[in-house]
């Protein structure tokens, strides 16, 4: 009967659906669904923390189902509201909410980051690469940790400079500061800079392009932003997760519980397209593909920062 009251909605997090990154991925997933099945969906962009509960409750109240929510910051609002509306199906991305009507989708960002870390190390001529994170939280540390592991796997002596943009939600949308941080890293010798900073990354990639260094995008495929300057993008298939939630609910197949998406599930990966193909040599691709296979097979295990709040390498 999930079919009868199918009325999908999606809520984007701070940074907005056009952050060219995390939220945009969710947006694209929803759009793809709309195009394929001709079903309209409701959407809302969070502007401040205080709106979260109201937005969720508003959609649930209005009979929307399923409701997909992007972003870890929604977890506590979801806990409250999902309990109030047990008949509504919810999906949260990037956090785990343990309720019988909630599907939690989490990614193994460390695995994808490991691969782009390898590419960065192979591309680097200076032996120094950089990382700019958005908000300083375990999730972003997991990106950083995977990236360092991958880079060190290629070149144990490599230096990885890491900066976080801030400690609040505003850190997702501060390209000026992102550019300043990337410029600083480049001045210290980094020639590849990876960002996991949502809208802030726009400044990071721009600064890298301006300085003739390489940037690495995140979440969505950002290779097109500065063709020839973006080495690759670490893909996190938020779009797929969003699309699947809508589709499963439409088909009456919506499952609850935790879904963990890693390389094996094609939930993360790295982007190759016309914009960056020329930047990646065959050896580079081969090395990364090999590592990918090993990770999938379990031969290489990438440490997840979140498992013990620490990173074995830095």
């Amino acid at each position: 009967d999930g079919h009868t009251n199918f009325n999908p909605a999606v809520i984007f997090d701070l940074g907005g659906k056009f952050d060219r990154s995390f939220n945009q991925a969710a947006y694209e997933g929803a759009e793809r669904f709309k195009e394929e099945f001709g079903v309209e969906y409701r959407e809302f962009e969070i502007q401040s923390d205080a709106q979260r509960e109201q937005a969720l409750r508003r959609f649930a109240e209005a009979g929307n189902n399923p409701i997909v929510v992007a972003g870890f910051a929604q977890a506590s609002a979801m806990e409250a509201v999902a309990a109030e509306f047990p008949d509504t199906q919810f999906q949260i991305i990037d956090a785990v909410v343990d309720l019988p009507n909630v599907r939690s989708v989490v990614f193994k960002e460390e695995e994808g980051s490991y691969l782009v870390g390898m590419l960065a190390a192979m591309k680097s001529e200076t032996g120094t690469v950089g990382f700019v994170g958005g908000m300083d939280i375990p999730l972003i540390r997991a990106f950083a940790c995977g990236y360092v592991q991958g880079a060190k796997a290629v070149n144990p002596d490599i230096t990885v400079i890491q900066n976080m943009t801030g400690t609040t939600g505003a850190a997702w949308n501060d390209p000026v500061r992102g550019g300043e941080l990337a410029t600083g890293q480049i001045q210290q010798g980094a020639d590849v800079v990876y960002h996991a900073a949502g809208g802030t990354g726009r400044g990071v990639l721009q600064a890298a392009a301006d300085a003739g260094a390489f940037g690495i995008g995140v979440d969505s495929n950002q290779n097109y932003l500065h063709p020839g300057s973006v080495l690759t993008s670490m893909l996190k298939r938020v779009d797929v997760a969003t699309y699947n939630a809508f589709k499963d609910a439409m088909d009456g197949n919506f499952t609850v519980g935790v879904q963990t998406l890693g390389l094996a599930q094609e939930g993360v990966g790295y982007a190759v397209d016309d914009n960056n193909r020329a930047l990646l040599t065959d050896e580079m691709t081969a090395a990364v593909e090999e590592a990918k296979a090993k990770i999938v097979s379990g031969e290489i295990s990438v440490h997840d920062y979140r498992s013990d709040d620490s990173c074995p390498v830095s």
């Binding site: 401040s48 923390d49 508003r58 375990p138 400690t167 609040t168």
Partner: protein, 365 residues
């Protein structure tokens, strides 16, 4: 101090015309972005007042605005412009959280009064430094309070990421309060008397805010302290002549103002979020300025203006749901226009009015 305008024109007619002008310009903005302002207005009013759910949210927002509006109004009476409500309310949230996190195993009847004290104390404390600097060192309180807003948010971030944060959680927020710190919501209270009302975050602090209105009215117009505050506000030199200490009045007024701003943390932190997070204040500190200006710094005016802004906030949120092309910044714009028209462009209406009334009076004489 106008001799030409009757009281009713000064208190009602001019603000009303100004608010209408503000909404008229806002309507033009809506038209510019390609939407129908009448339709948008309809959505807003229906969204805010058309259902008990909407009314609940409207009252919830209005509660916060009453607190911050009173805060600005009290300071205005002493000719002090407190734009630090945002920071004071934010820091007050810490006070509320400390009380709630410690006592949430008990009962709200115990937690609420203590949380009120905590909120007011923390809010007042955050106002104390700018007040002291103004009173003793003449530092411009408008700029110091703005700075204290920024410092408050840095402090809050520090505390939430380093002290209050739950292990394993990524969001910079405290843990959820237990039942002992859950104050009754309006729908629960309606339930006590057998009424049915949709769930919304409006809660008992609405009554706390209304009591604060009465107390502020007594303070300003009936008490000796209020007499001194108003005298100081009209003329600080004359106040000195009468033995009213500018230092004392500045400090006390700002402490009261900060405490009132802090009071809104009860509504949001305790009444709605039930945990402390980064932006529990939601710009209400700034809305307070518009509310106080529109309400002519009188508690009754403040309540009416707060309700108007409650409608605006809830209706605006509804608008953003219904017409995603109108982002929630629409509310910010209307707020700006209201401040502009009732505050700094006020004379645009007042001057012609004065001339009109002078003309009428001459005609009569």
């Amino acid at each position: 101090m106008s001799k030409t305008l009757p009281r009713w024109a000064d208190l009602i007619l001019i603000p009303a015309i100004n608010v209408l002008l503000a909404f008229f310009v806002a309507g033009l903005v809506v038209m510019f972005i390609g939407e129908d302002p009448v339709h948008a207005m309809g959505i807003m009013i229906r969204g805010a007042l058309g259902s008990d759910y909407g009314i609940g949210y409207t009252l919830f927002y209005a509660t916060s605005f009453i607190c911050t509006g009173l805060a600005v109004a009290v300071a205005f009476h002493a000719s002090i412009f407190n734009i630090g409500g945002e920071g004071q309310a934010g820091v007050a949230g810490i006070g509320v959280a400390l009380v709630c996190l410690t006592l949430d195993q008990t009962h709200w009847l115990l937690t609420l009064p203590l949380a009120i004290l905590g909120a007011m104390a923390f809010g007042a404390a955050w106002a104390a430094v700018p007040a002291y600097l103004q009173a003793r060192r003449g530092s411009h309180i408008v700029i110091t309070t703005i700075m204290f807003n920024y410092i408050a948010s840095a402090l809050l971030v520090y505390l939430l990421t380093n002290i209050f944060k739950m292990p394993g959680s990524m969001a910079p927020e405290s843990r959820r309060f237990e039942d002992g710190a859950n104050i009754p919501r309006l729908d629960q209270m309606a339930d006590w008397i057998g009424l049915d009302m949709a769930r919304s975050p409006a809660n008992i602090s609405l009554f706390v805010a209304l009591i604060a209105c009465v107390l502020v009215w007594l303070l300003i117009w009936r008490s000796r302290l209020g007499y001194e505050i108003r005298a100081f506000g009209f003329s600080d030199k004359a106040a000195v002549y009468a033995g009213i200490s500018p230092f004392r009045i500045t400090m006390i007024t700002m402490l009261i103002s900060g405490a009132l701003a802090g009071l809104m943390a009860i509504n949001t932190v305790m009444g709605d979020l039930q945990r402390l997070n980064l932006d529990s204040v939601l710009g209400a500190g700034f809305v307070g300025i518009a509310v106080a200006l529109m309400g002519r710094s009188h508690p009754v005016g403040v309540v009416l203006a707060a309700l108007l802004f409650g409608v605006l906030y809830q209706g605006g949120a509804e608008l953003a749901f219904e017409i995603p092309a109108i982002p929630s910044q629409m509310i910010l714009t209307i707020q700006a226009l209201v401040i502009l028209f009732t505050g700094s462009l006020e004379n645009m209406v007042r001057f012609p009015m004065e001339r009109l009334f002078l003309f009428i009076n001459r005609g009569r004489a």
